[in-house]
Amino acid sequence: MKTAEDLQSCRYELSENGEGEVTLRIQGQLDVSNSAALINGLSEWFRDRQPRALIVDLGALTHFDDFGVLALVQTRRLMAEKEATFHLENVGDNVTQMLSFFHFDSLSKKPPFAKKRRPGMLIRLGDGTIHIASEFRSLATFIGAVCLGLLHVCRHPRSLRTDDTFLYMQKTGVDALPIILLISFLVGLIMAFTAAVQLEQFGANIYVASLVSLMMTRELGPIMTAIIVAGRSGSAFAAEIGTMKVSEEVDALFTMGFDTVRFLAVPKIVATVLVVPLLTLFSDLFAILGGLVVGVFMLDLTVNSYVAQTVKTLSLFDVFFGLSKSAIFAFLIAWIGCFRGFQVKGGAASVGESTTSAVVSGIFLIILSDAIFSVILRYWG
C-alpha cells in the first residue's frame, strides 16, 4: 500500500560513460507527485552537457501515470534539442500500456497547439465596424420592442405585471431614498458653502438661496438622482436579466409564449419612470434644506428670508422641467440596463461586462440627453 512517505520515493540516478552515453535509471514511482522534479532536474543537469545518447532504464519503476509519460516526453524533447538519441530500456508491460494509451510515439512530434492567431488589422477593423453596426441595430430593435410593450400596456393596462412593478418601485425608489436624501443634503450644503465664499464679498448672501435652489431643481437634482439610480438599479436590472439569460430562464419565458421584453423590461421601465421624478423632488427639497442650514448658521440669514428668496427665484416651470428631465433619464437608465441584460451571452464574465456597461452607458446617456435639453432650452425657453 502506498503511504504518504513513499509518494516522494522516485529516485533517479544519472551515470555517464566516457563516450557521451548517459544512463538514467528511474526507481520507484514516476507520477503526479514527482514528475515536475524529474523534468526540472534533468534540464538542469543537461544544461552544460552535450550527451550523444540517453538510455532511460525503467526496470525499477513501480508506479507510472500520465505525468510519468509527460516526463518521458519532455526528456525526449530535451534530447532532440541536444541532437542526442533517446532510448527506453526494460520497459514493463504496464508502462508499455500506458505509453501506447497516451500515444507516446506521436506525442512529442505534434507541434504544440497553435494559439488562435490574431487576425490582421483590416479584418479587425471590419469586425469592429460590423459589431458596432449590429449593436445599433439591436439597440433600435430593442427600443422598438420596448415601445411596443409600453404601447400594449397603455392599451391593456391590466397586462402590466403589477406585482413586479410595485416590487421594482420599492427597490428603485423607496430603498434608494435614504442615500439620495443624504447625498442631496450634503450637496446643497457644499454648494452653499462654496457660493457663500464668493457672494459674501459683495454682500450678496441672500443669493445663495437662489443659486442652490435653481441649480438643484434644474440641473443637479435630476442628474444626481439619475446617476445614483443608474448605479443602484440600472446595474441590478442588467445583472438580473443577464443571469436569467445564462440560466436559460429567458428562453423558458420565450417558449412559454411570453413576450420577454414585456415580461421583464416593461415593469422595470414603468417602475423606474414613476419613482425617479419623485426621488428627484425629494433630492431638490433636501438640497435646499442643506443650503438653508448653511444660510441660517453661517450667513446670518433668517429662515424666512431664505425661503422667501427661494420661492421668488423658482418658477413652476423650473421644477417641472427638472422633473420631466428626470423621467426621461429614468427611462434611459432602465432601458439601457435591460438592454445590456438581454445582450448577455455565455457565462458569468459576460454578466459582469454587461453590468458595468449598463452603468457606464447609463451615465453617458444621462449626460448626453441633459446636454441636448440645455441646447433646446437655450433656443426655446
Binding site: I39, D65, D66, F101, L107, F113, G347, S350
Partner: protein, 255 residues
C-alpha cells in the same frame, strides 16, 4: 488491489434546517472501486455527495477520506485532502471565460512546478484522453453539453486524483454519448486505478459501470441496499430495490 477503505462514512446525519435528509448512514468505499450512490429523486443523493466532498459540513457523524476526518481537520489538511479528489459537477462547471485548455491547465499550473511547455503537452494529453484534442481553444459556450461534461472530466482528472466524484454524469446526455462517458469511466478506472464515486439514477449506466452500489431511500432516510447491482437486480427482497432495478415488472412484484 487491497481492500482498503478509502472513504469511510460513519453515522452521518444531514439536515437542512430542521429537515433530516440522511439519518445516521454508514458505509465504506474501497480503493479502486466504482461505487454508485443511487436512489429516486429527493432521497438525498446530491446532499450525500456534497457532504463527501466537504461542501457541507455534517450535522453529526464523520466523513473520513484517506484517513482524515474532513469535517474536523484544519484548513491545511483539508486542502491536502481536496488535492486527492476531483469532482465532475452536473453542469460541468467549466469557467466560461477560459478556453478548455486554460480550464484544464488551471490546477496544473497552480499545484505543480512543470515548465509551461510541459503543461501544454500534458493538457493536450488530458484533452486527448476525453477526445477533445481538437477543441482546446474553444470556450465552454462554444461546445455541446456532452463535450462540456468530458472537458469537466479532463479538468477533474488534471492532477490524477485518487478519487473522482461524479454528480449525475449522464444527466442531459444522449444515450450514445452517455454510454461513451460510461466507457471512459471504466477505462480510467482500469488504467489509472482511480476510485470513482458516482451519483446517478440511470439504470443502464449503473449496471454497466458499478462494482458496488448503495441505494438511498426517501422514507427511511437511510441505506436500503448495498452490494453488486446485478445481484441486487435479481435477488433483492426489498420491494423498493427490485422496483428500481426492474421498473417494467414492478407492478407484479409489489402487488
Amino acid at each position: 488491489m487491497g481492500k482498503q477503505a478509502l472513504i469511510q462514512v460513519k453515522h452521518l446525519v444531514a439536515k437542512y434546517g430542521e429537515d433530516v435528509i440522511l439519518d445516521r448512514i454508514s458505509f465504506d468505499i474501497y480503493e479502486g472501486e466504482i461505487f454508485v450512490v443511487l436512489g429516486g429523486s429527493g432521497c438525498g443523493k446530491s446532499t450525500l455527495l456534497k457532504h463527501l466532498i466537504g461542501l457541507i459540513p455534517p450535522h453529526s457523524g464523520q466523513v473520513i477520506i484517506d484517513g482524515y476526518d474532513i469535517s474536523k481537520c484544519d484548513e491545511a489538511t483539508l486542502k491536502g485532502v481536496l488535492r486527492k479528489i476531483g469532482v465532475l459537477y452536473q453542469s460541468a462547471a467549466l469557467f466560461g471565460s477560459m478556453t478548455l485548455a486554460e480550464n484544464v491547465a488551471l490546477p496544473i499550473k497552480e499545484y505543480t512546478a512543470l515548465p509551461p511547455e510541459a503543461i501544454t503537452t500534458l493538457v493536450r494529453m488530458k484533452l486527448d484522453l476525453v477526445n477533445l484534442g481538437a477543441y482546446e481553444n474553444h470556450l465552454p459556450s462554444e461546445i455541446s453539453g456532452g463535450m462540456k461534461k468530458r472537458a469537466g472530466l479532463a479538468r477533474a482528472m488534471a492532477l490524477n486524483p485518487k478519487i473522482l466524484f461524479f454528480d449525475e454524469p449522464s444527466a442531459g446526455l444522449d444515450p450514445v454519448t452517455s454510454v461513451d462517458l460510461d466507457n471512459l469511466i471504466i477505462h480510467l478506472n482500469k488504467s489509472l486505478g482511480t476510485t470513482m464515486v458516482i451519483v446517478t439514477h440511470e439504470l443502464e449506466s449503473i449496471l454497466s459501470v458499478a462494482h458496488r452500489v448503495i441505494m438511498l431511500d426517501k422514507h427511511s432516510k437511510g441505506i436500503i441496499a448495498d452490494g453488486d447491482p446485478k445481484y441486487l437486480r435479481d435477488h433483492s427482497q426489498n420491494p423498493f430495490v427490485s422496483k428500481f432495478f426492474n421498473p417494467q415488472t414492478a407492478g407484479e412484484i409489489t402487488a
